[in-house]
């Protein structure tokens, strides 16, 4: 589904990603973990095509297409979804209208039926139930005045509506208390199918107790320094990132050789 080869990317001419290799198959859950500033969010934004994130070398194939050549909206229409770490407020635009506009744009590009407000409302109500959010939320302006938890749930609701093939979740757990975390994780699990895949970007291991990854990758200083099974996350929980940082920056651990 996604094949990233030696991906390098810069923001404001500062290299952030320094050679990422990652392959995700349908049905899989991959977790990318790393300390602050390691490039986790940059990876998510580069894959989603955010302006200002410049790919300097490498490639990313998504369902056989050159992902990096596609416009952000075309990536979305092709089934790539990004759950934002910091969801953006769109004042005055009602969430249900926003979602319908997105849903119809995606449907149209796939030759599927665009839904009128009534039909869409029926679909939205089912999704609202699945994700277990307050139905009133869909009548409010997108993320405007939402609490941190509501914003995160709203991202999951959008994912439920757009039914992406590949969902990149950028810290869906940050700022959530234990109960909210469990509920959000449950919703994410409910949306899993054998055909879709998840790329979960997180600083902490705790969400992985609920959304169990097939593979865990440790991202340090723009490189994946170690990959493994779900136990790798537990190791990080216990021992922190220090050991991995030293491995990534050998010059910090020992004097530079002449």
């Amino acid at each position: 589904m996604l094949e990233i080869r030696n991906l390098h990317a810069s923001v404001n001419d500062t290299p952030i990603l320094r050679g990422i290799n990652l392959t995700i198959q349908p049905g899989e859950v991959h977790a990318v973990m790393g300390p602050n500033g390691s490039g986790k969010s940059t990876l998510a934004f580069v894959l989603a095509g955010r302006p200002g994130y410049e790919v300097t070398s490498g490639s990313a194939l998504y369902q056989g297409q050159d992902l990096l050549e596609m416009m952000p909206e075309d990536r979305a229409r092709a089934g790539l979804f990004l759950s934002f770490q910091h969801p953006v407020e769109v004042p005055g635009v009602r969430l249900d209208q926003f979602l319908r506009a997105g849903f119809n744009a995606v449907s149209k590009s796939r030759g599927l039926e665009e839904l009128d407000p009534l039909k869409f409302d029926r679909l939205l109500r089912r999704r609202v139930k699945t994700v277990n959010v307050d139905p009133q939320m869909t009548r409010r302006s997108v993320n405007e005045g939402f609490s941190g938890g509501e914003k995160k749930r709203n991202e999951v609701l959008q994912m439920a509506v757009l039914e992406p093939a590949l969902a990149i979740l950028d810290e869906p757990d940050s700022g959530l208390d234990v109960d909210a975390l469990r509920s959000v994780a449950q919703s994410i699990n409910d949306l899993r199918t054998p055909e879709n895949a998840l790329l979960l970007v997180t600083h902490y291991q705790r969400i992985l107790n609920y959304v169990v990854p097939d593979r865990v990758h440790v991202l340090v200083n723009g490189r994946i320094v170690k990959s493994g099974g779900k136990d790798l996350a537990l190791d990080i929980e216990a021992n922190g990132y220090d050991g991995y940082e030293e491995a990534a920056n050998p010059t910090l651990a020992q004097p530079a050789s002449p």
Partner: protein, 485 residues
């Protein structure tokens, strides 16, 4: 600069779509302004004596203001001094005879209207909209006259009203906006050439949306129209004006005056879609839209509501106001003002509370793109006898790109301590984050922008009659086109 930002900055590239010139012979006044020109205009229109007297008083007052250099300078707009002697104050398409029906209207004119998207012929059939179209200075044709006449409603050009209903005009003219009100109001009073007149008798609910369409055609012409609407006790009328002008390199002056009078229990809803030529990318040409609009809630329980969508003009200087004289009267102002390229807008409202339990509501939305400058200026005045007056003001700004400006200048004067005032304001930016968020949900750059803008303007668009809400939405989209990467 990133890609999205470049896209945002090309918004102003949208060209003006109504910039054609109609080739019709015009009956034109000599250039410049003096007492003789005022007399010439009045004579041309065969006006009653009181009208000429009023014009001359206005002209003398204007001359005095001109001599004292009392042009308003407080607004946040910048332009070179206007040479008032270099303007043509009257231009009428030459008509051979008086027009009785649409069939007699110059086909060239009708084609112009069709290009503007207001096919009069069509509208005759499409019930619901009556049109009084002002071309340069003279009203061309008024539809639905008979239908309206059945209800005793008078809807005609100002010139015609002067001939047929001089008493009504003499009684009300200048009662809301006196000629001495301000520099441009004085100028308008001296030289106004036509406009619309509307009279709704007691207890009548006007069954149609009344529409006037203004268009400036002749080069270097000023358009000075004057609208007077009188709603008698218990009546209701909804009125809409639309405006456009051809593309010309010179700046053209538009100094209109609108007076509304709502008697006891009457309601007037006045909507404007203004799309005058805004000038080119570099700020060359365009209309100076210096307009005085004011309504008086004369009777108790009366209501006046202004809704405006301002997308055109090089400079907009406009403050549709309500004088809340009658007890329990209501004044409302809903506004969307868009400035792009080098457009400047200084617009807002005045709510003057005089009667008891009077209420006013102000919702002003300013959108600034490219190098546009947008200022909200509003006054809420609660008089000493206006017990329990209430005002709610919300003025929001939306910035597109990083070279535009938005300013908010609210004035509040309260002379009665039972008053209750609320003020809200926020500024938001259509930034890369917001656009990218929408893109990530599958929306194109254009759809994203249109969604954001419409969301921002929603409260105002909801106040427009349905078909005009659609037009307003389309107009904003047209004006902000050019962002596809």
């Amino acid at each position: 600069m990133t890609i999205a930002n470049q896209e945002l900055n090309t918004i102003a590239a949208q060209e003006y779509r109504y910039g054609f010139i109609t080739d019709i012979e015009a009956d034109v006044a000599p250039r410049g302004l003096n007492e003789d020109i005022v007399r010439w205009i009045s004579a041309k229109k065969n006006e009653p004596e009181f009208m000429l007297e009023w014009r001359l008083k206005a002209f003398r007052h204007w001359e005095k203001l001109q001599a004292e250099q009392q042009t308003p300078t407080w607004a946040n707009v910048h332009y070179p001094p206007i040479n008032y002697q270099d303007i043509i104050y009257y231009s009428a398409p030459k008509a051979k005879e008086k027009l009785e029906s649409l069939d007699e209207v110059d086909p060239e004119l009708l084609r112009t209207y069709e290009k503007l998207g207001i096919p009069l012929e069509e509208q005759k059939r499409l019930a619901g909209v009556a049109v009084d179209a002002i071309f340069d200075s003279v009203s061309i044709a008024t539809t639905f006259r008979e239908e309206l006449a059945k209800h005793g409603i008078v809807f005609c050009s100002f010139s015609e009203a002067l001939q047929k209903h001089p008493d009504l005009i003499q009684k009300h003219l200048g009662s809301v906006v006196p000629y001495s009100d301000n520099f441009y109001a004085a100028l308008n009073a001296a030289v106004f050439s036509d406009g619309s007149f509307c009279y709704i008798p007691k207890g009548v609910r006007c069954p149609l949306e009344l529409t006037t369409y203004f268009r400036i055609n002749t080069a270097e012409t000023g358009q000075f129209e004057r609208t007077l609407i009188i709603a008698e006790e218990g009546s209701y009328v909804s009125y809409l004006e639309g405006c456009s002008a051809p593309m010309r390199d010179e700046n053209q002056l538009h100094a209109a005056v609108v007076e509304l009078i709502a008697h006891k229990d009457a309601e007037i809803k006045y909507s404007t879609i203004q799309n005058w030529y805004p000038g080119d990318q570099d700020g060359k040409g365009g209309i100076y839209n210096f307009v005085t609009k004011r309504g008086k809630c004369a009777g108790s329980n009366s209501k006046i509501s202004w809704t405006q969508v301002e997308t055109g003009s090089a400079i907009t200087w406009k403050y549709p106001s309500v004088i809340l004289q009658g007890d329990n009267s209501i004044g409302e102002f809903y506004s969307v003002a868009l400035t792009k390229a080098k457009q400047q807008a200084d617009t807002g409202t005045k709510m003057v509370h005089i009667g008891k339990n009077t209420r006013s509501k102000i919702i002003a939305k300013g959108i600034a793109a490219a190098e546009g400058s947008n200022t909200y200026r509003g006054l809420v005045r609660i008089g000493s006898r206006a017990d329990n007056a209430r005002n709610f003001t919300q003025c929001d700004s939306l910035l597109i790109g990083d070279r535009c400006g938005a300013h908010t200048t609210p004035y509040v004067e309260v002379l009665n301590n039972t008053a209750h005032l609320e003020h809200e304001a926020f500024t938001s930016r259509v930034d890369e984050d917001m656009l990218f968020y929408c893109n990530q949900r599958g929306l194109s750059m254009e759809d994203a922008q249109s969604l954001i803008i419409n969301g921002f303007c929603k409260e105002v668009f909801q106040k427009l009659p349905f078909e005009f809400a659609v037009e307003a939405t389309r107009l904003l989209e047209l004006n902000l086109e050019g962002t596809v990467g």
